[in-house]
Symmetry: C2
Subunit: 360 residues, 2 copies
C-alpha cells in the first residue's frame, strides 16, 4: 500500500492543481484519492457534498469512496469498505444514511473459483456493515478490472439540524480522536511476516504475535462504524469534525483547520497508536511518518473539535456505548488556520485487544 | 470493447446467480455491468434505485455507472460518460438531476504529460455535459488504476409524479426508440482502420469515409442526453421505458417486458442502425449480433412503451426539439412478458450526419 499510496498522492496533487485553475479554488483533498471538483454548494472542504434540494429546506448529503483491498479477509474487506464510505457522512454529524450503492472491481487475475468465493464474501461484508448502520444497499456496479477495487456511495437527505458544518472551532476547544492511528503500519507489518528481508527490519522491536494482534486490532478498528461518534457530536455540541484517512492525522487536521471561520489553529499533543506500531514505524525510518502525522489510515476515526468542558464526557460516553476508548489529543488555540504536532508528542499505546467480547 | 464486454457479461452472469440465492431473487441485470443487489424498495428491475425517504413523501432516485473509455477523444469521452450515467435517471422519466459525483480511474500506463492533458479534458467533458443537463458535479473520486475508467453517480430527490415506474405497458402500446443502434460496431470499425487484418474483413462493404462518419455519428449519439426524451415521456403518457446499453436492444427489451404488471410481450419489427453499420456487422459473422439485438450499446436511446395514438406525436416532438429522429420500432401484444425481434426485421439506415448544425 505504501508505494501505491505515495504515487496516488503525487498524481492527484498534480491533478488538483490543474483543476484549481478553472474551478475557483474551491476543491480540496479530503483523502489521498478524493477530489471535490465543481463548486461545493456549501463552499468549504468537507467530507461529503451538501446540495440544497428543490424540496422544503432539505439537503442532499453524499459521498463516494473506493480503494484497493488491503486485508486478506474478503468479508472484513467488505465491512471496511462500507465503514469507510459511511465515515464521510459521519464526519458531518449525519447519522442516518438513506441509501448506499456498492462499486466493485473484480480482478481479471483472479481464478474463476477464487472469484466465486471471494466476491460474495466481500458483498456480504459490505451489506452486513450497511445493515449495522441502519441502511441498505440498493444498487451498484461491478466491473472486471486488473486490480480488485471496492467502494461505494452513501447518500442521505436531511434537514439542516442533522448535519454539522465543520467550520466552527473556537479557541479553547479540544481535539478528540475516536480510533487509534497505525492501521497502515499494522497492515504492512502483517504482510511482511512472509517477506524475510522486510521482516528483518522490524523483528527487533516487535514479535510475530504482536503483529498478528495489531493487524487484528487494525481490522476491527477499520470495520468499526463512526456512527455513534457522529451521534454524540450532536449531544456534546461538536464544532466540527473530519475523518482521518489517506492524508494521515496531520493532513486531515490541517485541512479542517484551513476551513475554520474563526482564526484558530490546532495543536496535537498525544498520538494514540495501535500497540507496538509506533516502534515499528520508527524502525522503518521515514517510510510511514506515523509520528509526524502523515501515515495514511483507512477508515480511521473522527477528529472532532469539542468544547473543552464537554470532551471528557464525550469520551466517556463513547466508551460506555461501544467499549472503545476515544482520546483528547490536542487543543484549539488562536492562530492562522493551520495544524501541527508538538515536537515530542506523547505516544499512547493502544492495546491490541481491549476487551473479550468483540462487537463483530 | 468486444471481447472485454463478452468477458464481463459472462463473469457477471455468474456473480448474479450467486447473489440470487441469498437475495430473494430481486436483482436484475440492467447493463452488462450493473447489479441490483439488495431489495430494490420498489421491487422491480429498473434503471435507477428508488428509496422512499423519511421526509414528506419524497423519494431518492439514484444510479451509478462506470466503464472503460471507448473513443479516442477524451473530452467526448467525458461527455459520453456523463450522458450514460444520467440516462438511467432519464429512463425513469426523471428530468431533474440534483447532484452528480464523478468517478475516475487514471491509467498507471499513461505518461505524466499525457495524463496532464487527458484527465482535465475528460473532467471538462463530464462537467459540460452535467451543465447541459442542468445539474452540477459536486464531488467524486479519482484513483490510479491499470485501466482508465470513467463513470459517476446521478442522484435526485423527487415527488412520486416526477418518475415513471416502468411496469405499465398495455396491449396496443407501441415501442419507440430514441437513438439509432450500432455504436459498438461503429467504434470497433473505426479502431480497425489501423488494423489491416481486421479492416480486410469489412472493406468490401464499407469505405473509410463511411466508417469515419459512422464513428462521428456514434460519438454524437452517445454524448446526447436522453433528457428531452424523458420529459416527453410525461407529455405523451409513457407506460414505461428503459435505456439501451450493455445488453443490447433485445436484452433490455426482455428485461423491461419481464417486469410488466400486465400479460404483455414486445415484438420488434424495425431496427434503426447507424448508416452502413448493419452491413459491417453482417460482414463480421456472429461477432456483434447486431440484427439479433445483442450488440452492446453505450449511452443508447430510450426504449419507451407509448400509447399507440401518442407515439407519432412523441417522435415528431422530439425531432422538432432536438433535430434527431426517433422511431416506432415495435408493438406490445398479449403475451408472457418476453420480447423478440421478428425474423426479418426492417433495417432503417440512419444517415451519418442528419443536419449541418450539430448541437454539440
Amino acid at each position: 500500500m505504501g508505494d501505491l499510496h505515495a504515487a496516488t498522492v503525487e498524481i492527484l496533487g498534480k491533478l488538483l492543481e490543474g483543476l484549481q485553475a478553472d474551478d475557483n479554488g474551491a476543491q480540496d483533498h479530503e483523502h489521498a484519492q478524493f477530489i471535490h471538483m465543481a463548486t461545493p454548494r456549501i463552499g468549504i472542504g468537507m467530507d461529503s457534498s451538501v446540495t440544497p434540494l428543490r424540496h422544503g429546506g432539505l439537503s442532499l448529503v453524499q459521498t463516494t469512496d473506493f480503494f484497493y483491498p488491503l486485508v486478506d479477509d474478503p468479508y472484513m474487506m467488505g465491512k471496511i469498505a462500507c465503514a469507510n464510505v459511511l465515515s464521510d457522512l459521519y464526519a458531518m454529524g449525519v447519522t442516518e444514511c438513506d441509501n448506499m450503492l456498492m462499486l466493485l472491481g473484480v480482478s481479471t487475475k483472479m481464478m474463476e473459483k477464487e472469484r466465486d468465493v471471494v466476491v460474495p464474501l466481500i458483498m456480504r461484508g459490505f451489506k452486513d456493515s450497511a445493515t449495522e448502520a441502519g441502511t441498505t444497499v440498493s444498487g451498484g456496479q461491478t466491473v472486471v478490472n486488473p486490480w480488485c477495487t471496492i467502494g461505494g456511495v452513501a447518500t442521505t437527505v436531511c434537514q439542516p439540524n442533522e448535519y454539522i458544518v465543520p467550520d466552527n472551532a473556537v479557541v479553547g476547544d479540544v481535539l478528540v480522536l475516536t480510533k487509534p492511528l497505525g492501521t497502515q503500519v499494522a497492515v504492512n507489518a502483517h504482510q511482511w511476516l512472509d517477506q524475510p528481508d522486510r521482516w528483518n527490519r522490524i523483528k527487533l522491536v516487535v514479535s510475530e504475535d504482536d503483529v498478528r494482534k495489531a493487524y487484528q486490532r487494525a481490522m476491527d478498528s477499520m470495520a468499526r462504524l463512526n456512527r455513534i461518534a457522529a451521534r454524540l457530536m450532536h449531544k456534546y455540541n461538536a464544532h466540527g469534525a473530519t475523518d482521518v484517512t489517506g492524508f494521515g492525522l496531520l493532513g486531515h487536521a490541517q485541512n479542517l483547520a484551513k476551513h475554520q471561520k474563526n482564526e484558530v489553529s490546532f495543536v496535537i499533543h498525544n498520538l494514540p497508536v495501535i500497540s507496538k506500531m509506533a516502534a515499528v514505524a520508527k524502525a522503518c525510518g521515514n517510510m510511514f511518518q506515523l509520528l509526524q502525522g502523515h501515515s495514511a489510515e483507512t477508515s480511521g476515526g473522527l477528529l472532532i473539535c469539542l468544547p473543552r468542558e464537554q470532551a471528557a464526557a464525550y469520551c466517556k460516553d463513547i466508551e460506555k456505548q461501544e467499549g472503545y476508548q476515544a482520546w483528547i489529543i490536542g487543543i484549539v488555540e488562536k492562530g492562522n488556520r493551520t495544524a501541527r504536532i508538538i515536537d515530542k508528542p506523547r505516544v499512547i499505546e493502544v492495546p491490541a485487544k481491549e476487551k473479550d467480547g468483540e462487537l463483530w
